[in-house]
C-alpha cells in the first residue's frame, strides 16, 4: 500500500494496520533525513499548515512545528491564550478565518474530545489531531509504537503495560488502539479510581499491583498524573501514589527480566518514575522525542500527498 486510507488523522481508531505500517516505513526514511548534516527536504514547499493549540503544549507543538519546517511547509502558529477565542469566536469561525488565508492543513489540540472529528466535517482542510481532551492523541501513540519497534524489533506479540492515570489520558486510549491493531497485548495498571470502568471491554487486562504488571510486560509506558484534569481527589497523597505506582531503579532491578521504560512526557521526576530510571539505559524516553519528529513528518507528508492541487 502506498497511500493512507484516511484524509485526516483524527484518531488511531480510524486507521488500519497497513496505515500504521506505511507511516512507520515513511518515518524510517525521515529519521535518516533528520540525521543528515542538512535536515530539510523540499517536499511540502507549496503547503501551508496552521498549528492551532487551544490547550497548553510544549513538546507536541515544538515537535509538529519542527516536522513541518523540515518538510519545508509554511507554518503559522496560533494559541488560544492570545486569540479572539477569548472574545467569544466559535471554533468553526476561527478555523474558517484561518483557512481563508489559504491554509491546506490544520494541526489542532483542543480540550474537548471529538473537536477534530467535528472540525473535519465542517471545514475544507486536512486535520491532524494533536490531542483532543481525554480522547485521543494519535501521533503520540504512533511514535510510542515506532519507538517500541525500533528498540524491540517488532510490536507484534509484545506485552505492554500502561501505568498511571488512565482515566484522564488520551495517550492511553490511542496507545491501546495502536498496540492492539499491531498485535500487541495491552495491560493497564493504576489506582482503581484512575482506571475507567468497563475498560476491559477494549480487550485490555487490568492490574492494580505494579510489581505483577511489570513482571508480565516487555515494555512499561509510564503516564503522568494529570493534576490539572482532576476535579476531585483520586488518591490520598502523591507520596502514597509514588509508593504504590512509582517505578524506582530498585524495583526494576528486582524484576525477573529487563524491561523497557517509556514516558510521553512531561515527567514528574520522583512521582511516576525516579530520576535514575528516567536516565537509565532501559529508558527510551529521549528516543521517543526524536522519533516524534520523524513520525510526525511521515504523517504530514502522507496526508499532504492526498491534498489535491
Amino acid at each position: 500500500m502506498s497511500e493512507l486510507s484516511v484524509n485526516h488523522l483524527l484518531g488511531i481508531k480510524y486507521l488500519k494496520e497497513e496505515d500504521i505500517q506505511l507511516i512507520f516505513e515513511t518515518a524510517d526514511h525521515f529519521k535518516e533525513v533528520i540525521n543528515r548534516p542538512i535536515k530539510k527536504v523540499p517536499s511540502l514547499r507549496d503547503i501551508t499548515i496552521a498549528n492551532l493549540f487551544f490547550e497548553n503544549s510544549t513538546r507536541t507543538k515544538l515537535s509538529f512545528e519542527l516536522a513541518e519546517k523540515r518538510l519545508s511547509a509554511d507554518v503559522i502558529n496560533f494559541s488560544s491564550a492570545q486569540s479572539s477565542v477569548k472574545k467569544g469566536e466559535s471554533l468553526i469561525d476561527t478555523v474558517n478565518n484561518i483557512l481563508s488565508m489559504k491554509v491546506d492543513m490544520v494541526v489542532m489540540r483542543h480540550p474537548n474530545p471529538g473537536a477534530g472529528v467535528f472540525l473535519s466535517k465542517h471545514v475544507n482542510a486536512s486535520i491532524v489531531n494533536a490531542g483532543d481532551g481525554a480522547h485521543e492523541h494519535p501521533t503520540q501513540a504512533l511514535l510510542d509504537s515506532y519507538s517500541i519497534r525500533e528498540r524491540l524489533g517488532d510490536v507484534k506479540g509484545k506485552k505492554v503495560v500502561i501505568v498511571g492515570d488512565i482515566l484522564h489520558s488520551r495517550v492511553a486510549l490511542s496507545n491501546i488502539y495502536a498496540l492492539q491493531l499491531q498485535g500487541a497485548q495491552v495491560m493497564v495498571c493504576g489506582p482503581k479510581t484512575l482506571i475507567p470502568k468497563y475498560i476491559d471491554k477494549l480487550g485490555v487486562k487490568v492490574e492494580t499491583n505494579l510489581r505483577k504488571a511489570l513482571n508480565w510486560c516487555d515494555v512499561a509506558n509510564m503516564l503522568r498524573v494529570q493534576n490539572e484534569r482532576m476535579d476531585i481527589s483520586y488518591f490520598p497523597s502523591t507520596r502514597e501514589y509514588t509508593q504504590q505506582f512509582g517505578v524506582s531503579k530498585d524495583l526494576l532491578n528486582s524484576l525477573d527480566k529487563e524491561i523497557t521504560i517509556m514516558h510521553p512526557g512531561p515527567i514528574n521526576r520522583g512521582v511516576e518514575i525516579t530520576s535514575d530510571v528516567a536516565d537509565s539505559k532501559q529508558s527510551i524516553i529521549l528516543d521517543q522525542v526524536q522519533n516524534g519528529v520523524a513520525v510526525r513528518m511521515a504523517v504530514i507528508y502522507l496526508l499532504a500527498s492526498k491534498i489535491k492541487q
Binding site: 526514511h29 535518516e32 533525513v33 523540499p42 517536499s43 499532504a304
Partner: protein, 179 residues
Amino acid sequence: MSQKVLLNAKEVNIILHRLACQLIEKHNDFSNTVLIGLQPRGVFLADRLAKILEEDYKIKNIQLGHLDITFYRDDFRRGEKTLEANTTKINFIVEDKNIVFIDDVLYTGRSIRAALTAIQSFGRPNEIELLTLIDRRFSRHLPIQPDYRGRQVDVINNEKVKVNWKEHDNEDSVYLIEK
C-alpha cells in the same frame, strides 16, 4: 503492447566494462571519488559497476552510496499516487568529493535535477558527473546531459525503455516497450 530488444546480456556486459574503463581514465584510483546510484533503478547499475571496478580492474576501496530523491522531486501532489520513498545509504562525507551519479535511463532530466538538490544535504561536493546506461535523446526537459553514456537511443514519447538486471529481473537486457 510490443517490445523490442535494444541490448542483450552480452552487449550490456561490454558496455559496462567500457564505462568502467572510462571512469578509471578520469578518476584513476578513485581515492577522492564516490559513486552514487540513484534509487530505485540506478542502484543496480551502480552496484554492478563497483563490482566490475573492484573485481576486474582491482581497484580497492570504492565508495558506493545509494541516494533516494523522492522528497526532492518536483511532482509531489501532481500525480494520483503518493510518492513512495526508498532507502538512502550514504555512509561517507561528500564534502569536496568527486561524485558520479549513476542511473539507468536519462529521460527528462528531472530525476537528476532532484538528485543535484538532494546531494547538497550531505555537504558540498567538489564536482558532480553523470553516468547513464541509456540516454534518451531529444526528450530532455532540462539542460542536463550525461558525462558517460552507455548507449544513446532515439525513442518517441509513448515508448518506454526498460532496463533489466540479473539481480532483480533474472536477466541483463534493455527493451524498448511500445505502450
